[in-house]
Structure formats: structure tokens, C-alpha cells
Amino acid sequence: MEKGYLCLILHAHLPFVREPQYEEFLEEHWLFEALVDTYIPLLTVLESLIKEGVGFSLTLNISPTLSAMLEDDFLITRFKKYLDKMIELSEKEIERTKFLPQFNRLAHFYYYRFTRAKKLFFEKWGANILKVFKDIQERGFLEIITCCATHGYLPLLNLQEEVIKAQIRVGVSSYRRVFDRNPSGIWLPECGYFEGLDRFLKEEGIKYFILETHGILFARPRPKFGVYSNYWTPHRVGIFGRDPETSKNVWSSIEGYPGDYNYREFYRDIGFDLDYDYLRPYIAPTGERIFTGIKYYRITGPTENKEIYDPQKALDKAAEHAGNFMFNREHQINYLNSVLGRKPIIVAPYDAELFGHWWFEGVDWLNFLIRKIHFDQKVFKMITPSQYLKVYPLTQKIEPAGSSWGWKGYSEVWLSGENDWIYPHLHRAGELMVKLAQKEFLGLEKRILNQMGRELLLAQSSDWPFIMKTGAFSSYAKKRVIEHLQNFYSLYYQLKRRHKNELFLRELEEKNNIFPDISYKVFSL
């Protein structure tokens, strides 16, 4: 009999980026890179595990903005073009490196990677990976949870209850549309929690959510089992706290696995190394050099003199690290089981894009880890939060503390000199939306209101202030907040006119086509 459980949660999210008015748009590459680096390899691993009879229980959050993009024909077509270009570049690389056998081997490696991604995505999965994820969920291996509509950071939007509810409701309805069932849990954007939020979650039928470690530890009364059990909130929603040890293993750039010298170096990319004219067709349309994803070096050490990457050595390392992770969990769980008097749950949530994108070998690590857990030990099992809720339905009731998983544990990342200017605008627009949502509109006016709702939600994405804070791409983030709010007010202006410009409305509906079924009424109580 197992002594405890490991709950791996992957949070897959990207902001909604869709710019059809441009022939090519750099920020759309976020999706394409995440597909090639993370989502496609992950799905490949999951399918192989099932095929080979390896049992596992994984929790995956696919955010509504990500799932909207994965459903979008326009972006899918662009993804194909992107892959074709990358295949072309890797073909050229195979030729260019003819006299460098080690590099040539890697060039073939990338060529295979891109062609295989294309084949799997478009031929095997019919350009619809949401359906593949859904099937895996229905076969019981995967628990897919939802997220707020546009990943709005709730603690800083909490001026109108209706705005918070809209973020949650649209997150739930978007999930229902894609996965044909109600989501059991929700991933709170950035784990952002404020006291009282559990009531809104309860009202929308959410069964559980995840908090940052101190959200649970600083709860009142003191949580009996640390972060190693579920609890109930005052409104009886299940809660789980993040285990810091497992997050450090993977996240930390010093102690964590991804910093190993054998792993691939992210920052050495041919996009910055090779001759400009040669690269020109494959970099940003405006001519800036960018990361192409073709990287030939390993981390090597704290040096500029990087050595060539050896995929086999890196793979061996990933297997070793998976073994180490499992070994540490066995010890942790044995110990916790002995002091807690119940089977502990170790909740280990990660951004999905960490695996494969930042940590190139991360998906392989995951693959090794799941196999090892299945075959090599008996101390613990993998579990999803809703399965664990059934193990301990009777547990302590606590009031969790406001918290987030951002830097310093609270809201500073999203509220600082670089980005605080957005809140007066977001709050006013929210206020106007809530006011309008109390009235009844029909026909064209109703469509205007629905689109206003979409624009407001898009402006509320936590990604924009986050990007403003971290620097890179910040002008795009600013542009997006301003643009959506301007669309919002332009629509409002149309609403008040006797003669409405339907063309204008239709253009916005077609461009920002997220949440096709949204009703502006989600902004009313």
C-alpha cells in the first residue's frame, strides 16, 4: 500500500495573440514555439506512456486563451507556415555544417524535430490537439482543469465582484465548450488569492484550487498538516498548497536540475550567431535577430566558451535527475507519513512551458519520472487533486491567506512603477461594463456589449503587466492594454450612437474572436 502521493500539475498558458492584419507577427511565435517545444512533445510522451501501459495521473491546466488559440484556424495555418520555414532553415543548416560533423548531427536532429512536429500535429492529430488532450482525460490519465478567462490577476481586479465572477465564469464556460464537462478545479492566475475569493469560486461550481505555500501556511487557524494535505475553505472549496521542495528542484537556477552543464544552453541560438543575410528570412519581419530554436551548445559552465551539445548525454542526465527526484519524494513521503498520521500529498505545480522550452530536456525528464514512479518504487503514487479529495473528504477548515506565486509572494510583480498605470483604466472600464450589464440589449447592441466584454477581458490579462515589469516585449504589452481598452470605448461610443457602424463591430469580432459564446451578462451578478 502506498504511503503518499505526488500531484504533478502543469499550467499551460499563453496570452491571446492573434494579429491577422500583419503578414507575419513576431509575438505569434510564442504559441508556435510552445507547440514545438512543449505541447507537442508532451502529448507525444503521454501517448507513448498509454500505449506502453504505464499508468499515470497528471493534472493539466489549459488556459482559455491558449485553448482559444489552439482552436483558431488562422493561427493553425500560420503555424504550418512557421514550421515550413523552420524546416527550410534546418535543411540549410544541414548543408552549411557539412564540414562540422558534430554540428551536422545536431542540424539533422533539428530537422527531424521540426518535420516530426509537423507530421504529428497536422497528420496524426488533425491539427486539433485539444481533442487529443480531451481523449486522454476521458481515458482517465489526465485531469484537465481550467483557468480564469484571460488569466486576469484577481487580487488587483477585485473592485467589482462582477468582474471577478466574469473572469471565473468565462473560464468555466470556455472549458465546458472544449471538454464537454464541468471543470473540477481551477488554476488561479499566478496563484493569486485574496480573502473571500473562495465564495466566488464556490458559486461557479469549482471544487478545488491551488495556493502558493504561504497561502496555506499562513492560514487561520494553523493548518494541521502543513502543505501536505487538502483543506476546506470557509465556503467549502478544496485547497492545496504548493510544496516548496519540489518546486526548488525544478525551478531554481542554482540548485535546480535545469542548470546542469550537460543540458542545452538556451541563450546560444543561431539567430544571434550566424551571418545576418543568411538568417534574414527566418528572423523578425522587422529585421531584429531572434531566437530561432536551433541551438548547438550545452550550458557547459559559467563561461562564454560553450561546448557542443550532446543530446544523448543530456538524455542520460535527465534520466538521472528523474531518479533523483523520485528518490527524494520517497524519503519525503516516508517521513511525512510517519509524522502526519495520514498519507501526504506533495503538490508540485509548474508552468508547462518550462518543460521543453526553457528546460529543453524537461519533457524527457517528465517521461523518465513517470515511468520510474510506475516501475521502480512502491512508496507513492501519482494522484490528481480531485482523487485526493476523495481520500480525505474529512479535513480541517481554514481561511487561507492572500498570496501569489509571483516574486516575493504577493502582488508586487503586477503592481509597480512599470505597470501600475493600467489599473485606473482597467477598473473604470470594469465599472462601466458592470453598469451596462445590468441592462437588457438586443440585436446589434447585444453584439456590441458582448464584444466589449471580450475586449475588457483581454485587457485584463496578467501577462501584460508581467511583461511590462520584466522588460522584453514591454511595448507590445502596453500596446495591447491600450488597444483593447480603446476598442472597448470605441464600441461604447457606437452603442450610444443612433447609427451604428456594424462593419467596425464585425472587424473586431473577427479579429479578437476569443469566447465566441460569451454573453455580456456574465458581468452581472
Binding site: E190, C191, G259, H425, R428, S462, S475, R497
Partner: protein, 348 residues
């Protein structure tokens, strides 16, 4: 006094610009009337000339490098310039003048507040203050600890403190330094006699609780030290202050270090600081042309031709001597030409 008047005038101009940009269709006279009658602010300012100042830095748009045509897609919109099309986007208001002050929680110790007070409201409140007092007025934020307040309209028994603010500021970060408490903020004028004239009152916010609760409702399982260890605090100080510091440090050191937005949080952020460096690589381009239907090979491997029969190959050229045996065979297979360039790269 005169200065203030001027300021006021400017502000009125600004309102007019904002409200009109929000509400006013530039073309049609009839709509213009509607707007001005629905809004006090525009009434007065109708005559005033419009300043074409660009909006403040924060909301101004710099063209992102990646989206070069952004500017053209944005409204050429300012009062006085007619809209080309009625559906052009409305510009985001710079100010709202809705007499609001809003408080937000940043963390257990800090709150953020922003406000937007109309000149009318300012004038209305200032008119209640005697003219002798006016030169000595301070604009302040009064921060009430309302944790124990039952009646939200009566703050008289609350503890509070004042923060003097710059009259041009529109937002402020305040160190309340009290986790787990509720606060409400008023903005207003404080006279030298200590009389406070309120411009606006904020929403009530609560700072998150910090530290491990002393409230226990069940029999204890984990020893106290174990709790701190979960957070990575092994050296627990004796005093509560030491404890708090240790906890704070643990959070800063980042058990949460990875969090947030997968694709945008460079995990291996610590890059090696580059010293002086110099790297030289060589590449070789071999190009040429033949009959478009010819069969061209290099070392027996087929070389793809462009439609016009040209080709171009590009190789990384390391140190050494390299031969490139090309062979072109005519479409009819009866003619062939072989050329073998030899390239040597050395360094001294």
C-alpha cells in the same frame, strides 16, 4: 493664488479634451450638442482653445519595434482634428475626473492608491476653507485602520496616520506595515489648525496575514519548527521580529522564484557577464549556373537548381583544405562537365 487659477484653467482644458475624445463624434454637430449637454465639464470648455499636448508618458504609445505600422493603425485623434472615419478608435482617456480614490493591496506591508479628483470637486472643497488658511494647506492621504470598525460611516474612533503628498501626484505607495488589517484611505486638505477637508474616500482593503497563525483548533501534528522548515527557514530566530524577518527573507529568496507566465520568465536568468570577446568564423558560398533541367551533383549528392538553372551553396568553412567535385549532366544525358574548386582555410 494666480498660479492655482492657471492650473485650474489648464485642467479644464484637459477635461474637455478627454471627455470629448471619449464621447464626442468629431463630425456631427448634433451629437456635439448632446455630449455637451450631458456633461458639465464640456459646457465651459467649449470655447477654450485646445491644447495639442500629447498624453502623459504612461499612456502614450511608443511604437513597438515589432509592429511598425502600429502608429498608422491608431487613431490620428485629437480635438480639432476631424476623424477620418467615425469608427476610428476612441483614445483612451488620460483622466476620468470621477472623484474617486482607489486602494489596492500590494503585500502585507504596502498598499497602493490612485485617485482622480475633478477640478470642480477641488474647488467645492476649497471653497469651504477660509482664505487665510489656503497658503498653508497640505494635501494629504489619511490612512485609517478600520479593522475593528462596525459602522463604515463613522471612522472617528479609528487609528489613522497622514501622508503628505505632492499636489501633482496621481498615485502613491504607502507603507502601512500591518499585515492582516483593513484600511481605508481618504484624500483631502489639512489646514494648519488640523482640520481635514475630504475630497474622496477609498474602498476598504485588507492586507494579507503574514506569519504562522497562533490560532490552533485541533490537536497538533507538526512541531512548530517543521512549519518554518517547509518555508525553508531552518535558523529560526527567538524573537517574533527575527521570525518575521526570516520568513520574509524566505519568500524573497523565492520559493516562488519560478512563478508566472511560462514563456516569459527566463529560468536561467543569471547569464555570464560578457567580458571582451572576439570571434571570427568563415563561410563559403559556392554558386553557379547550368541548364535548368541539368542534373547537378556535388560529391555524388544531388544539388537543387533554381528554376533559372542557378544554384547557391553555403558552407561553414573550418580550418583545412576542401575539394568540391561538381558534376553537371545535360538533360539529354549525353554531355557532362566536371569542375572541382579547391578551397583552403588557414590561420596565422
Amino acid at each position: 493664488m494666480r498660479k492655482r487659477k492657471e492650473n485650474k484653467k489648464k485642467t479644464v482644458k484637459r477635461i474637455s479634451r478627454i471627455l470629448s475624445s471619449l464621447l464626442k463624434p468629431k463630425k456631427k454637430q448634433e451629437e456635439k450638442k448632446k455630449t455637451s449637454s450631458s456633461s458639465k465639464a464640456t459646457l465651459k470648455s467649449k470655447k477654450s482653445p485646445v491644447s495639442k499636448k500629447t498624453p502623459s508618458k504612461e499612456v502614450s504609445l511608443k511604437t513597438p519595434p515589432t509592429t511598425k505600422s502600429l502608429e498608422s493603425s491608431l487613431p490620428k485623434f485629437d480635438l480639432g482634428i476631424d476623424l477620418k472615419e467615425e469608427a476610428q478608435p476612441v483614445k483612451l482617456p488620460q483622466r476620468y475626473f470621477d472623484n474617486k480614490i482607489v486602494a489596492l493591496t500590494r503585500d502585507p506591508w504596502w498598499v497602493h492608491t490612485y485617485w482622480d479628483i475633478s477640478p470642480q470637486k477641488e474647488a467645492e472643497v476649497l471653497s469651504k476653507i477660509s482664505s487665510q488658511e489656503k497658503p498653508f494647506l497640505k494635501k494629504i492621504l489619511r490612512v485609517y485602520d478600520v479593522t475593528e470598525v462596525k459602522d463604515i460611516n463613522n471612522f472617528s474612533k479609528c487609528q489613522f496616520f497622514d501622508v503628505e503628498i505632492n499636489s501633482l501626484a496621481t498615485n502613491w505607495y504607502i507603507n502601512v506595515n500591518k499585515p492582516g488589517r483593513s484600511f481605508c484611505i481618504e484624500i483631502g486638505y489639512l489646514t494648519s489648525q488640523g482640520e481635514f477637508f475630504v475630497l474622496a474616500r477609498s474602498n476598504i482593503i485588507k492586507t494579507p496575514r503574514f506569519g504562522i497563525s497562533e490560532e490552533l483548533d485541533e490537536e497538533w501534528v507538526l512541531p512548530e519548527d517543521e512549519y518554518y522548515k517547509i518555508l525553508g527557514v531552518y535558523d529560526l530566530g527567538k524573537s517574533s521580529l527575527q521570525r518575521m524577518r526570516a520568513l520574509k527573507l524566505a519568500l524573497e529568496r523565492g520559493i516562488s522564484s519560478g512563478g508566472a507566465s511560462g514563456l516569459f520568465s527566463p529560468l536561467l536568468r543569471k547569464r555570464v557577464k560578457k567580458g571582451f570577446f572576439f570571434e571570427v568564423y568563415t563561410e563559403l558560398i559556392i554558386y553557379g549556373r547550368t541548364h535548368p533541367q541539368a542534373n547537378l551533383t556535388l560529391k555524388g549528392e544531388k544539388v537543387n537548381l533554381q528554376e533559372d538553372g542557378t544554384f547557391s551553396l553555403r558552407f561553414h568553412l573550418p580550418l583545412g583544405k576542401f575539394e568540391f567535385p561538381f558534376r553537371a549532366v545535360s538533360p539529354s544525358q549525353d554531355e557532362k562537365i566536371e569542375i572541382t574548386p579547391i578551397v583552403e582555410r588557414t590561420e596565422k
